[in-house]
Symmetry: C2
Subunit: 187 residues, 2 copies
DNA sequence: AGCTAAATATGATACCTATCATGTAAATGT
DNA sequence: ACATTTACATGATAGGTATCATATTTAGCT
């Protein structure tokens, strides 16, 4: 059953969106091609009409989701608050693709690594732009340091099974970033 | 072929050590039971004499390697320098088990999560002890913030394919941590 | 309207891997 | 020294999944 050109484009988008959520939720390996297709409302057979392999899907999903993710634009404090919230920790499927997928990228194809590299570059820039009060060198250092701490904290908080400690990791990281930024800018 | 009791204990240690390196290097899913046994100098058949399942191996390997990893005891600056070095980034198989494995823990069994929780708790304590100049509240905040940034930076640095950006992530995170600690302690 | 090409569905195929079954030889206790 | 237990080796088994082959339906063009 052939479908219209726009229908096909929408199907492709749905596949990418479904893959994006599933990968963030369960990891690349734990998600099968058939599962992605089913979540997109299709069957597994049509998959290779859209992508040349599962690795290709992974790379394209990353490019898709990292390009779409333009968070972190405005107020860094507000962004960090949301990022380091229990709500975000508990919502991996809909949350930051970097926090959900970076660690796995190491084992993926060069195309996937390239997409993540681009994503990281623009995220650092975005966070830097949210720190206009700093001079350029401080700004870049703060952007990278904050981002590393934010991603690290969410990954740690998601890994452990003690809710109190998990909350504390988020909360203290938020405070630590806060003092770091304030003190550099007040210098 | 039965082996002596001590030989068996050593075999078990070898399995855990081999598993630890392989898991850090390639991730839990990408390493087969047979591969671990082979790396330990055995064949796959004996595996279930030591462990009840692959999940059991994962949990026990985590407990083993996180208990053994007593790094971060002395000087925090020196520790951060080594941790955030290209050498450590490029040596996942022999490097920090947290950096190599945390992100995957989310998809593992409760036993594995429990082991990681314990590991995180003691690591925070160890880093805290390396900051005696701070009062308790600052100390805990700094320990958690630093650790999140260190783990996050190594994970990010390992994910991307641009060596210059990767080096910069490590370097800037190091500097960011450094200024953070200095400024809190000089307060 | 009719033809053709293309998008998806259904149905293999082949491989990998966790786990189990059985054999074997050596260690341990008597 | 012997019997027994047991750690490990060799050799299935079974289930999952990426990928391919073929069929079907219909969009898009003439």
């Amino acid at each position: 059953m052939k479908v219209s050109r726009e229908q096909m484009a929408e199907n492709r988008r749905r596949i990418l969106d479904a893959a994006s959520r599933l990968f963030r939720d369960k990891g690349f390996d734990a998600v099968s091609v058939a599962e992605v297709m089913k979540a997109a409302g299709l069957t597994h057979g049509g998959f290779y009409g859209h992508f040349s392999s599962k690795d290709d899907l992974i790379a394209q999903t990353l490019a898709h989701v990292l390009a779409a993710d333009s968070s972190g634009g405005g107020d860094l404090r507000a962004y960090a608050d949301a990022y380091l919230s229990p709500r975000h920790r508990d919502n991996a499927a809909g949350g930051c693709p970097t926090a959900g997928l970076v660690a796995d990228i190491r084992h993926q194809t060069p195309a996937a690594r390239a997409a993540m590299t681009e994503g990281l570059r623009s995220q650092i820039d975005r966070i830097g732009k949210a720190l206009p009060e700093l001079d350029p060198a401080d700004r870049r250092r703060a952007a990278i340091g904050c981002w590393a701490a934010m991603v690290g904290a969410v990954i740690l908080a998601r890994a452990i099974d003690d809710p109190a400690l998990s909350d504390e990791v988020l909360e203290q990281t938020r405070a630590w970033i806060d003092t770091g930024i304030s003190q550099v800018s007040a210098r």
